[in-house]
Amino acid sequence: MANQGVVLDTVFHALADPTRRAVLQRLSKGTATVSELAEPFDMALPSFVKHISVLERSRLITSRKSGRVRTCSLERENLVAAERWFDQLRAQWASRYNNLDNLLAKMSGDKNDE
């Protein structure tokens, strides 16, 4: 994937927050206005807009203003590049530990054989 590097640094930070992850999940279903996105959260609008700004800086989302309405959309390519790394690393640890489960089961079995 071409668009790695600089983007990933801010992407990491953007993904670290549950509100921002929820916004991304909502946007994966389609574009939405900032007020639509803010609605499920019990949060003052200025605080919510800060989350939107973090997402924009990371280039995970883009937004367009039309009159007084700002509409956001997901930049899938950028999200996928970052996700790929998390997912790989997580999968490596998961696989490694599944191996260990099997080894432990085998060793415990040997020990319990009477």
Binding site: Q25, Q92, D101
Partner: protein, 168 residues
């Protein structure tokens, strides 16, 4: 196999830290042995489909584990883990790095500091591993390497990935 074993994988960019928490259905001594004896590490440490092969193991403070993770094509990725502190069977700290077959560490590749702790959890054992990168640059280098290396797992669908993140 029991599938209710706790597994958490948390990445914190600001702290340049990855925390992996995993529960095992075995007593602590056994889990500790599996992490500290090379004949046991060789049986599980590399993620599938890779295998692990130890070249040198000296599990003591100041000692190190030098091993290769081997692909099905017999390509070897050499690593070394230098043990800093050891507190049987509660935990250890170590410096992780990429090296060559002779064990010479490549200073240009991103190393990390490992802090592993082992705790009883009823009849199970909880292992927490904190992987700390020294700088934002070394973390970024690890990310870039990870994206390029040949160990890539298949990318799952975006929505599923978001669900995983949600749970993290």
């Amino acid at each position: 196999m029991t599938n209710d074993l706790r597994f958490e994988f948390v990445a914190d960019k600001d702290e340049r830290r990855i925390t992996v928490i995993r529960e095992f259905d075995a007593d602590r001594q056994l889990v500790w042995d599996c992490h500290t004896k090379s004949e046991l590490l060789d049986q599980w440490f590399a993620p599938k489909p890779l295998t692990t092969q130890t070249k040198h193991m000296d599990f003591r403070e100041g000692g190190y584990w030098h091993y290769a993770m081997i692909t099905p094509d017999n390509e070897k990725y050499w690593n070394r883990l230098d043990y800093k502190t050891i507190d049987p069977i509660d935990g250890y700290t170590a410096q992780d790095g990429f090296c060559d077959e002779t064990g010479a560490v490549n200073p240009d590749l991103p190393g990390s500091h490992w802090d592993g702790t082992f705790a009883d959890e009823k009849k199970r054992t909880l292992v927490t591993t904190v992987v700390q990168y020294a700088s934002a640059d070394s973390l970024q280098a690890a990310i870039d390497m990870g994206l390029k290396d040949g160990l890539a797992s298949t990318l799952e669908r975006l929505d599923e990935l978001l669900l995983v993140l949600q749970e993290a």
